[in-house]
Structures are given as structure tokens and as C-alpha cells.
């Protein structure tokens, strides 16, 4: 190849490139000619007589069902009067457009006999931030308005009816704290958002609605349609189908939930019922509660004020976020720590004289004349403070701490809900940081009887009860049983499928830790807890249900200043004794005592559960 042929070739190829470019440009000119000259009338009329409307197709939120398919959260249609601002766009400054929109709203107000509820500021706000979305001039209007709309055949540009799904909770207040509520997500302030058509639907703001939001939320779609001046639709240009959220099935049993809420009614307190075989939460309640429906479509300001500032804190989920000193309910932990470390045995006895003297501090037993010399099981049954102070000291705090830690005290259980509290399991380090002194024997005594800085949530106590009930398997408590994708399977079919499998304890739990307790330990502690309820003078005898053997432990914990004598009543229970299917923890604030205040409620609850079992499916 010589240089000149090389050069000739290069020049030729450069000319070829130039021919390609010129051809391409001619093609563009032809295309422009077609659009701008030949078909101009079609496009001209598009601009003058028609516009393209983006209609939002909302994605419905998934339903929440209980384990038996009872619907706990659903959607209902809500009719709104929507203004499509883009179609009302006026030439010149923005205030012309605003004026036009106001004119339209005013005439609608007359036709539909509705009082105007949106202000000029709302319109400006919407124009600036959500221009591409329909502006809802009236939300959730009643049937009468829709009828007037149909009669009058509204003849205004840029106006349409818009159906929006609104969240509803068919069971009212039931499981309000578990379900939570939804709220319209506030927009990011960035400008570009105003052009983004794909705004989120309402989003979960509390409870499972928030925790499972990614599952539940629907993805809105939309439809592009040509409309003429009077808003008559005449051509679909494209549709993006919305996607429904996933339905979720909970572990809750709404019947037990109802029983539990009845048991707590009128009190401040919380209760959790767990299936000890797999950690399924059958019921979780916090009292007082709220009706999730009151948040839809929007919560009035006064109602919000009431809910958020009320002294009994109805929006506070005591079951997972309330921390209470557990009191005597904690004593089995000390017993297990001692037995497992071979520090004590079933026969280990101490003398109770009505109090235990450590230096100049006196730890009182509830029975002022003392229990005399008693053994471990009897001490559990009688909830003897002197005994457990001495056992705690004998065992040593490290062992108690390790056992309590392994049982989940002092950290979150990992339930799906947000806002769970750690509780508090103090140690020397905590003492130094917060009180300024190291760990003292008195602290060991305090924790051994469930007092001092020790604090736990009702959920933690329920998990603890479940772990004793099943002989030492700590399961992560869970609320979510299954997800049901509506796209792949019909919901009805799924419900029927579930019908067959709704026996409790069937699915495998998330095992966090196998405690590997010896059988002997489990037997001794369980028998002690058996006597608490079944023995004639057990502290929890008021919970006794005829025909049902249970194990449990009562507790009465002091809080606040000693002189005020304020007490929380506690009880943990598992039943039936031989093969436990239920583990319950209940706390009532400002109670007389666990045995007096809580035990009778447990009794009613268990009787109700028995009735459900007998009439129901298990």
C-alpha cells in the first residue's frame, strides 16, 4: 500500500462520511416537513382543542388479615372532585391560571352545593409542587354530591371525579397498636418532584402499617388520555397498570385479641400472648388504645391533640415500648441461673423472717411474719423475697446477668414493629455510669427480686414465659405469618388454603437460642410455677381455671418514690401445663398486686381461650 493510495482511500472515506451526514440531515428535514407542514392541522388542533390528561390510577394497599383470614385492614373507595391544573393553564403570569382555577372551583361549589374547602394558598402550593397531579378540591364527598354531579353533567374543563382508596379497619379499635395507621407522605421539597407523576400513596406511619410498608404499599399507575375542552375523554394514549400491595397474614388471632383487649379495658397496661412452640404472637394489646380509622382520611387537629397529649398516652404501645420493673416475675431467672450453675438444688433452703438484712439495708418480704425455712419450689410459689435475696447472693450476679441476658433481657426481641424498647439489665458498668458507684451486693438483691434498675417490656416477659414453657427455646416473637401476593393467587383461594393450616404452632419458628437447660432445672422451675396457680394458697391462685392446669408467676413491682407506694401488677402464665400452647405476660399499671389485680383477668382470658378452642377449630 503506497502513501498516495492510502491518502486517496482516506479522503474517499471522509467523503463517504460526509454523504452519510448530509443524507441523515435530509431525512430530518423530511421528517420535520411531515410534522410541521404536512400534518400541521392535526397538531394545531391538538393544542387548541385537546390536551393530554394524566390520570392517576392508585395502587391499592395490601390487606392485613389475622391468622384465620379475618380482615383487620382493608380499603374502601372514596370519591373526590379533582382539578387537572395543566388543562387550565392560561397565558401570561401565573396569577391568570390561579384565577381560572378559582373560577372553576367556585362554579363547582355552586353546582354541587359544596362549601369551598381549599384556599388560594393550597392552589398555589399545588401548582408549584404537584402540578402534574390532580388537585383534589373536595375529598371523600358523599353520594348526594356524586348524584348531583351526574345530574348536572358538569360541563367544566379540567374537572373530573377521582376515586381514591381509603384505608379502613373493619374491626375498629381492635389491635390498633399492632396495626398502626397510615398517613399521606409529605413531599420532598425538591422542585423536580412537582413533575414526577409517580408519587407515593399513603404510607404507613405507625405499627405494622409502617413496619411492613414496603410489602403493603401499592404502586400507582396512570393513564394518558386525550380530552377536549369540556373534558370529554376520547382517546387512550397509554396505560400503566397500578400494582396492588401484598396482602399479609398475621399470627394474631382476632378472637384472642378481643379477649385480651376486654381484659385490659379501662386499665393502663399491656398484654402479650405468644405461642411458645414457635414465637407466633397470638395477641398483643396495649391499653388505652385508639381507633386506626380515626386517622383516615385525615386526623382532625383536635383529635390529634387529644391522642398525643392525653395523660394515659393512648398512642404509646406499652407492649413493646413500655418498660416496667418486672418484680417477682423475674425470680424464675434467678432460680434457673442457680440451678443451671449447680449453685443450688431443689433442696436449697433459706430462712425467711419477713425480711432480709444486708448491712443496714432491709429487703422486706411481702409476708411480714416470714415464711420460715422454705425450699426453692415453695419460695417460687410463695414469691418469697428473703429467699431470693439470699439465693441471688449465693449465685452471684454474673451468673444471673448472663442467664437474664441469654433470655433476652436488656435487648430488643426483634419483633417486626418499630419503636421497641431494650428494657434495662443493669451491670457494674451501668451502675458506674449512672449512679457513680460500682456493683454492690444490695444491687444483686434488688435485681434478684426484680427491682432496682431492672426493667423489661411486656413482650420480653412474654418471650421469657414462652421460653420456660417450651423448656428452653427462645424464639423471636413474630407478627407476620405469611405474605399473599394477590397477583399470583386469588385471595379467596388463599384464605381457603389457610383454612386447612390454621392450627397453631404448625409453622416453624425463628429459633434465636436453645438454652440447653437440664431437664431437672426445667422441671423444678415449672413445678414451682405450677404451684403458684394450682396450689391452694399460691400467689396466683386467682388465675386458676377449672379443668385447665397452668403454670405462672405473679409480680408486684414498686415504682416511683417508696413513700408513694405505687405498684405495677404483673403476671406471666403458660398453659396447658403439660404441653403449653399459650404463654402470656400481662402488666397492669397502678395495681394492688399481681395476684389480686392481674390474676383474675388472666382467668377470664384463659376461660375465653378455652371456649374458643372448644367451639373452634383446634
Amino acid at each position: 500500500m503506497t502513501l498516495s493510495t492510502d491518502l486517496e482511500g482516506e479522503l474517499l472515506r471522509a467523503r463517504i462520511v460526509s454523504v452519510v451526514i448530509v443524507t441523515a440531515f435530509l431525512f430530518l428535514v423530511a421528517a420535520l416537513w411531515r410534522v410541521q407542514v404536512r400534518d400541521v392541522s392535526a397538531y394545531r388542533s391538538n393544542v387548541e382543542k385537546q390536551s393530554i390528561r394524566r390520570v392517576r390510577l392508585p395502587g391499592t394497599r395490601g390487606m392485613i388479615l389475622d391468622r384465620n383470614g379475618v380482615c383487620l385492614a382493608d380499603n374502601r373507595p372514596s370519591y373526590c372532585i379533582a382539578i387537572y391544573m395543566e388543562e387550565l393553564w392560561q397565558a401570561g403570569p401565573l396569577k391568570n391560571t390561579i384565577k381560572e382555577i378559582e373560577r372553576i372551583i367556585d362554579s363547582l361549589s355552586g353546582i354541587l352545593d359544596l362549601e369551598k374547602v381549599v384556599s388560594r394558598d393550597d392552589i398555589i402550593n399545588h401548582l408549584n409542587r404537584r402540578r402534574s397531579l390532580p388537585f383534589l378540591a373536595w375529598s371523600d364527598v358523599d353520594d348526594g354530591v356524586i348524584a348531583r354531579w351526574a345530574e348536572s353533567g358538569v360541563n367544566l374543563p379540567g374537572v373530573d371525579i377521582y376515586v381514591e382508596p381509603v384505608r379502613m379497619y373493619p374491626q375498629g379499635e381492635l389491635a390498633g397498636h399492632v396495626l398502626g395507621y397510615v398517613a399521606r407522605a409529605e413531599l420532598d421539597k425538591s422542585i423536580e418532584e412537582s413533575y414526577d407523576f409517580y408519587l407515593p400513596e399513603v404510607a404507613g406511619a405507625y405499627g405494622l402499617e409502617m413496619a411492613l410498608n414496603d410489602l403493603l404499599k401499592g404502586v400507582p399507575g396512570g393513564r394518558l388520555m386525550r380530552v377536549n375542552v369540556i373534558g370529554l375523554k376520547h382517546k387512550d394514549e397509554g396505560t400503566l397498570l397500578p400494582a396492588s400491595g401484598t396482602d399479609v397474614v398475621l399470627t394474631l388471632d382476632s378472637r384472642i385479641q378481643q379477649l385480651v383487649e376486654d381484659a385490659l379495658a379501662g386499665q393502663k397496661g399491656a398484654c402479650v400472648v405468644i405461642d411458645p412452640r414457635n414465637g407466633d404472637i397470638l395477641s398483643m394489646a396495649s391499653s388505652p388504645s385508639f381507633d386506626s380509622n380515626s386517622f383516615m382520611p385525615t386526623l382532625s387537629r383536635s383529635e390529634w391533640e387529644r391522642l398525643s397529649t392525653a395523660e394515659d398516652k393512648p398512642l404509646f404501645n406499652r407492649a413493646i415500648a413500655g418498660v416496667y420493673p418486672p418484680g417477682s416475675v423475674f425470680k424464675p431467672v434467678v432460680a434457673i441461673a442457680s440451678l443451671e450453675n449447680k449453685v443450688a438444688s431443689e433442696n436449697t433452703s433459706f430462712n425467711c423472717v419477713g425480711f432480709f438484712q444486708l448491712g443496714d439495708v432491709r429487703f422486706h418480704c411481702w409476708r411480714t411474719r416470714g415464711h420460715g425455712i422454705i425450699g426453692l419450689k415453695k419460695a417460687l410459689e410463695q414469691s418469697c423475697n428473703s429467699y431470693f435475696c439470699q439465693l441471688g447472693l449465693l449465685c452471684g450476679y454474673d451468673r444471673i446477668f448472663n442467664m437474664a441476658r441469654a433470655l433476652g433481657f436488656g435487648w430488643k426481641t426483634g419483633i417486626e414493629l418499630e419503636g421497641e424498647s431494650d428494657g434495662l439489665l443493669p451491670d457494674g458498668e451501668w451502675n458506674r455510669r449512672n449512679i457513680g458507684v460500682g456493683w454492690r451486693k444490695g444491687d444483686t438483691c434488688n435485681v434478684s427480686i426484680g427491682q432496682g434498675a431492672l426493667a423489661a417490656t411486656p413482650l420480653q416477659m412474654a418471650v421469657f414465659a414462652a421460653t420456660i414453657a417450651n423448656g428452653g427455646y427462645l424464639y423471636r416473637p413474630r407478627l407476620l405469618a405469611r405474605k399473599v401476593n394477590r397477583g399470583t393467587q386469588g385471595l379467596k383461594e388463599n384464605r381457603e388454603g389457610h383454612e386447612r393450616r390454621r392450627m397453631y404452632g404448625m409453622s416453624e419458628g425463628d429459633l434465636v437460642r436453645a438454652m440447653e437447660w437440664s431437664r431437672e432445672t426445667v422441671r423444678i422451675v415449672k413445678e414451682g410455677m405450677y404451684d403458684v396457680i394450682q396450689a391452694d394458697n399460691g400467689t396466683g391462685k386467682r388465675a386458676h381455671v377449672s379443668g385447665l392446669e397452668m403454670g405462672g408467676k405473679t409480680g408486684t413491682s414498686q415504682y416511683g418514690l417508696l413513700s408513694e407506694g405505687k405498684k405495677h401488677g404483673w403476671m406471666i402464665v403458660f398453659a396447658p401445663f403439660d404441653e403449653p400452647r399459650y404463654a402470656i405476660a400481662m402488666v397492669i399499671e397502678d395495681a394492688v398486686s399481681g395476684g389480686v389485680t392481674v390474676a383474675p383477668r388472666i382467668k377470664t382470658l384463659m376461660e375465653g381461650i378455652l371456649e374458643i378452642e372448644n367451639t373452634g377449630i383446634n
Binding site: R13, L28, W89
Partner: protein
């Protein structure tokens, strides 16, 4: 170096003035229509975008003049450094870049001032390619040589796709292709490369788009994707790119509105600043003065205005090819071809998108669209073409001479 520049300032007389005039006109048109497209905006900074564009224009003119005075042959000495620097910036942007609309494309310099390394890398890659393919004794028919060329293109391409900035990244391919074609890489190699590239694209597209049409189940679709080495989100992006009807409210909406704007302009347009389509009412702020500037021009100035703008681009491109033909050496020729190919691709894809012939891709229109980095790239590139033109004056005679001498 600066001294050299001023010594050669007389060279400016030899500039290709028609091209320079076309460039200047387009820049002015750009400023005017950025003003128009932002006129109805509610926000002061957006309304003043045209002022910023003037500033960018001045910076662009400085680049244009400096590069045309700078002897392009010296680029061979610094090409590797330019290339390395741009690669470094591309890597840097992946880590420290500002994230806008889900992509990391911007390096923040000062305040809101930033640069897009992907834009700069287009030019540096182009220079690198020209230098490589014009080395004395280069054997373009050898696979090894072609391999190096491909590597030079693929490194920035992959980094840009990573940002991701599909549009800008893909421009590199036709540019390299045109340069290789003109440089004389044998047709069989070009053919193989083109076929391989086409095959790869078809394979990916086929894996993404075909199974669904053929009615393969969701599990099967995922399996096929895995086989080709793609992830699910790749599929979503590719689908959105090739099937805008799947996104009727986003890309489909913009496309339709742009088409109506262009069409309603008619033969003579509605007059400056009288576009009733009111671009800002329908198109996002980010694209009206940038990617959709041409539809504003087409609406307000009609077929006449659109063709005038196209004609000006034509002058620049044909002028560039002319310079390539009269260039004194292969490097100058390849530089011109590269710059021309780059600008042509932008112009063609952008306008085709505006009138609804291509899916919305988000490529700016050179000289007209608002934007600093791209203005600098374009003007520098055009400056290089001018440099080739100005330094090629004696070539015409020498070429004739060489033919006579029978080389």
C-alpha cells in the same frame, strides 16, 4: 506555550470563517431560546439561566480560540496525559460525584458549579484515538492494534455506563467507529466488530425483550437473564429505554408533548416567546432548556426556524469534513472526523427524539442546549478542527505536488 500562541495569532486569518459564523449564530440562538423556554418559570434562578449560558458561551469561545491557535500536532504529546486525567476524573465521580436523579455524573467544583467528567472524556478519548491511529508505521490491519484501540474506547465507556449515563457513553461507539473507518481499518475487521457489537446488543435485547413476548414465565425470564449475565434492574432500564410505552406517564408524556409542540409550530412558527404549548407547563425544568430546546425553537419559529438551525449544523459538519479532507496529516483528519461524528450523533439523536422518531434518551443538542461541560467539550472540539484547518494551508499545494511527483 502562551508565547507561542500569541506569536501565531496571525493564523486566525486562515480560520474557516463560515463555520465560525455558524457556531456563533447557533450559540446566540441557544441563549435566546433558553431565555424563551425559561420565561414562564416561577423561579428566579431558572429565569436567569440564559445569563449563565452567556457565561458558558464566553468560556466556550475562549476554549475555541485557544484550541484553534494551539497547533493540534502538539496534542500527540499530551494526549496520553489528557486521557489518563479524564479516566481519573471518571473514577473520582463514581465515588465523590453528586447524585442527581439517581445518577452520579457531576463533580462539584465550587458551590453549585460542577463539571461532568463524562463530557470531557469524550474529547480526550477522541484525541487519544486520533493520535494512536496516526502513529508512523501503525498497522491498522493487525488485530493487536485494533485491540488497543478498542481498549481505549471501552475503559471510559464502562466507567460512564457505571454512572450511569447511557446516552453519553454510547456516543463513544459511533465516534470511534467513524474514526476507524476513515483511518483505514480494513473492512473485514470493521465488519467483524460491527457484527460482534450488533450481536451482543441483540443478545442482550433479545434476552430482555423476547422471552416476555414469547410467553416465557417469570422464572424462565429470570433464568435467561442470568444466562446472559444481567440483573433484574438492567432489564427494567433497558425496557424503559426501548419501550417507552411502558412508561406512558413519564417518557411517553414528554415525547407526546414535544411532538405536539413541534407540529403546532407549523411552517412559520408562532413567534418568539409565544409558544402556547408553554413548555414549562408540561416539561420538567431540567429538560426544557436542555434536551428539549429544539422543540421550543420548532414551536416558536416553525419549519423555517428548525431548518435554519439544522442548516447551521450542516455548515459546521460539512465544514469539518472539508477540513478533514484538506488536513495536512492523518492525525488532523482523524481529529476532524471524530469531532464531526460526535456533534453529528448528538444533533441527529436529539432532533429525532424531539420529533418522536427515537425514544427519549436525554442527549443535549450541541451549542443550543443549556449546559457548561458540554459547551466546553463542543467548543474545544470545534477549536481543534479550526486548528487543523489553520495549520493545513500549505497542504493543498503539496498534495498537488506530490501527485505530480508520482509518490
Amino acid at each position: 506555550m502562551l508565547k507561542d500562541l500569541f506569536k501565531d495569532i496571525r493564523l486566525l486569518k486562515r480560520m474557516n470563517w463560515p463555520v465560525t459564523a455558524a457556531v456563533a449564530l447557533l450559540m446566540m440562538i441557544g441563549v435566546v431560546f433558553i431565555y424563551s423556554s425559561c420565561f414562564v418559570s416561577q423561579e428566579q434562578p431558572v429565569r436567569m439561566l440564559w445569563v449563565k449560558q452567556i457565561v458558558w458561551g464566553v468560556v466556550g469561545i475562549i476554549c475555541y480560540v485557544l484550541f484553534s491557535l494551539y497547533d493540534y500536532r502538539r496534542l500527540s504529546r499530551i494526549s496520553l496525559w489528557l486521557y489518563m486525567a479524564s479516566i481519573c476524573l471518571l473514577v473520582l465521580v463514581l465515588f465523590t460525584g453528586v447524585k442527581i436523579y439517581g445518577a452520579r455524573r457531576w463533580l462539584r467544583l465550587y458551590g453549585t458549579l460542577g463539571i461532568q467528567p463524562s463530557e470531557l472524556s469524550k474529547l480526550s478519548t477522541l484525541i487519544m484515538l486520533a493520535v494512536l491511529m496516526s502513529r508512523p508505521g501503525v498497522k491498522l490491519w493487525q488485530m493487536r492494534e485494533v485491540g488497543i484501540i478498542l481498549l481505549i474506547v471501552i475503559i471510559p465507556l464502562v466507567l460512564i455506563l457505571k454512572e450511569p449515563d447511557l446516552g453519553t457513553g454510547m456516543i463513544l461507539l459511533p465516534v470511534a467507529f467513524a474514526m476507524m473507518f476513515v483511518a483505514g481499518v480494513p473492512f473485514r475487521i470493521i465488519g467483524v466488530l460491527a457484527a460482534a457489537g450488533l450481536l451482543l446488543v441483540m443478545l442482550i435485547l433479545g434476552a430482555v425483550l423476547l422471552p416476555e413476548r414469547l410467553g416465557v414465565g417469570e422464572v424462565g425470564q429470570t433464568r435467561i437473564l442470568r444466562l446472559v449475565g444481567l440483573k433484574d434492574y438492567h432489564k427494567v432500564r433497558i425496557e424503559a429505554f426501548f419501550q417507552p410505552e411502558k412508561d406512558p406517564l413519564g417518557a411517553g408524556w414528554s415525547k407526546m408533548q414535544s411532538e405536539i409542540a413541534v407540529g403546532s409550530g407549523g411552517p412559520w412558527g408562532k413567534g418568539f416567546n409565544r409558544g402556547t404549548q408553554k413548555m414549562l407547563g408540561f416539561l420538567p425544568r431540567s429538560v426544557a432548556p436542555t434536551d428539549f430546546i429544539y422543540s421550543v425553537i420548532a414551536e416558536e419559529e416553525g419549519f423555517f426556524g428548525s431548518v435554519v438551525a439544522l442548516l447551521l449544523f450542516g455548515i459546521i459538519l460539512v465544514g469539518g469534513i472539508h477540513t478533514a479532507i484538506v488536513a495536512e496529516d492523518r492525525m488532523g483528519r482523524l481529529l476532524c472526523i471524530g469531532v464531526v461524528a460526535m456533534i453529528f450523533c448528538h444533533v441527529f439523536i436529539n432532533i429525532a427524539m424531539t420529533i418522536g422518531l427515537l425514544p427519549i434518551t436525554g442527549l443535549p443538542l450541541p451549542l443550543l442546549s443549556y449546559g457548561g461541560s458540554f459547551m466546553i467539550t463542543t467548543m474545544s472540539g470545534l477549536g481543534i478542527v479550526q486548528s487543523v484547518h489553520m495549520h493545513s494551508y500549505p497542504l493543498v499545494q503539496s498534495l498537488r505536488y506530490s501527485r505530480k511527483a508520482g509518490w
